[in-house]
Amino acid sequence: MFVIKHRSADSWFMVFVVFSDGFILLSRMSTTSQKHRDFVGEPMGDKSVTALSGIGESLGKKLEEQGFDKAYVVLGQFLLLRKDTEMFTEWLKDASGANSRQAGSCAQCLREWCDAFL
């Protein structure tokens, strides 16, 4: 049996497993969450800040309190920081109390969105 991995789309792996008796197993794996893919897949329009990957209810509320009520406002902050994910992560952690994983996920989400649409 052997395995073939093929990187099909941005974050997708197609995995073909061929078994010794001819059995072929096809599977799909992704490195990103569904929320991430949903956000990066289309213009954000008027989506709420909770649509961002890594931003849940509580974090979203804290951001809204500071005036970042829409995803595009957070995008604005990201752009102000020159799309620097590290700076953005730091800012997000400071502004909303997000942890590293959440902030990193959000930064990554925004960066990919920018790569696709900006």
Binding site: M1, D21, L81
Partner: protein, 367 residues
């Protein structure tokens, strides 16, 4: 004892006189205005309240008593704190920098910063603070809001610090704790995810042949596995294949598995297919959870498990040879078939649970 009134004028003249007399204060002879006695009272008695040094007996009734005391206090206290006493240059005080200066300072340290606006200012201040704290090797207190002058970065000159012999900044000997947060790098989220994906896909393939995966903890991949997997993704097109093993039973090749497909372990199974599937029936009850753990990842643990499996297989063979009873073996074979089919079903249900689709030939008969 604070028993004397601050405002003796509330008392009557007679009372004042009595109070004064009671405290051995010499009264002016004759009848004077109440004011006189009030002043006396204040001078002699109220002053005692404050435990100040007793004023001299010679006094003038017109004197203002509390005033000198108060003014003394102001003068006798600490030295005048002039603004320039604790020199804070703009260089070091990041919060005092203008936006332009802050940007320039960051540029000096090689940081390309975006516009300094309300929402970004604090961040860049922190960054500059961090940068300023790094270079100085001397055990100076890290520049915080209460900044210390630094000779090298002192644009305004060192004269300020030299002018005053009693430097207050020398009091701060111990370094103040830095409030700068440490930015954790989200490497984990990116670096590990691909690796784990690869190992998990391998895991799934293993599940069919062996029931291994149940207790795979989420650890970093072993270097062996990483090396193998790293090779796979390094190809430009992303298409890669593992080492291809000869297909057993094809092209006239014997069914006997001479070498196992697991590259990380290279476990050699000398047993034939029957006894291997036989062993699966034994190990299956112990690994019922394997189906739900198909997202597992461990190479090292799989090696251990395979060795364990080998031992179990060996033991089961020994047990079988002990019996050497045809009837029993036949019943066991029948049992085996009833086990393998649900096993396949379990694997497929796991696959669908995870959202991965199986292609054609989903149901292969028997292994």
């Amino acid at each position: 004892m604070a028993e004397f009134l601050e405002d003796p004028s509330v008392l009557t003249k007679d009372k004042l006189k009595n109070e004064l007399a009671a405290n051995n204060v010499p009264l002016p002879s004759g009848e004077h205005k109440k004011e006189v006695y009030v002043q006396l009272y204040l001078k002699n008695l109220t002053v005692l309240n404050n435990k100040k040094s007793p004023p001299a007996d010679t006094f003038s009734s017109d004197e203002e008593l509390p005033a000198p005391v108060v003014s003394n206090k102001s003068r006798s206290g600490r030295k005048a704190t002039k603004k320039t006493d604790k020199p804070r240059t703009e260089e070091v005080e990041v919060t005092d920098l203008t936006d332009e200066d802050l940007k320039q300072q960051l540029a000096k340290h090689g940081v390309e910063s975006g516009p300094i606006v309300a929402s970004t200012r604090k961040l860049y201040e922190k960054k500059l603070q961090k940068l300023l704290d790094q270079p100085p090797a001397e055990p100076e207190a890290p520049t915080d809001v209460t900044a210390l002058p630094k000779a090298d970065s002192n644009q305004n000159g060192n004269t300020n610090s030299d002018q005053y012999s009693d430097k207050e900044d020398e009091e701060i000997a111990a370094p103040e704790p830095e409030p700068v947060p440490v930015v954790e790098k989200p490497v984990r989220s990116r670096g590990k995810a691909p690796v784990t994906v690869r190992t998990s896909s391998r895991r799934q393939t293993k599940v069919v042949e062996e029931i291994v995966v149940e207790e795979t903890p989420k650890k970093a991949s072993e270097s062996v596995v990483e090396d193998i997997l790293a090779n796979e993704i390094s190809t430009p097109t992303g298409i890669s294949a593992t080492c291809r093993r000869p297909i057993r039973g094809a092209a006239g090749r014997p069914l006997k598995p001479s070498e196992y497909w697991l590259d990380e372990s290279r476990v050699q199974h000398s047993i034939h297919t029957e006894s291997r599937s036989y062993s699966e029936s034994f190990s299956r009850p112990g690994s019922a959870v394997s189906s739900s753990k198909a997202t597992a990842r461990r190479g090292f643990l799989s090696v251990l498990l395979k060795l364990l499996l080998l031992v179990v297989v060996g033991g089961s063979l020994y047990y079988a040879y002990q019996n050497l009873d045809a009837d029993q073996i036949n019943t066991l074979k029948g049992l085996l078939d009833s086990v393998i089919v649900p096993l396949q079903g379990a694997v497929d249900s796991a696959a669908t649970y995870l959202g991965i689709s199986s292609s054609s030939a989903t149901e292969s008969t028997g292994k």
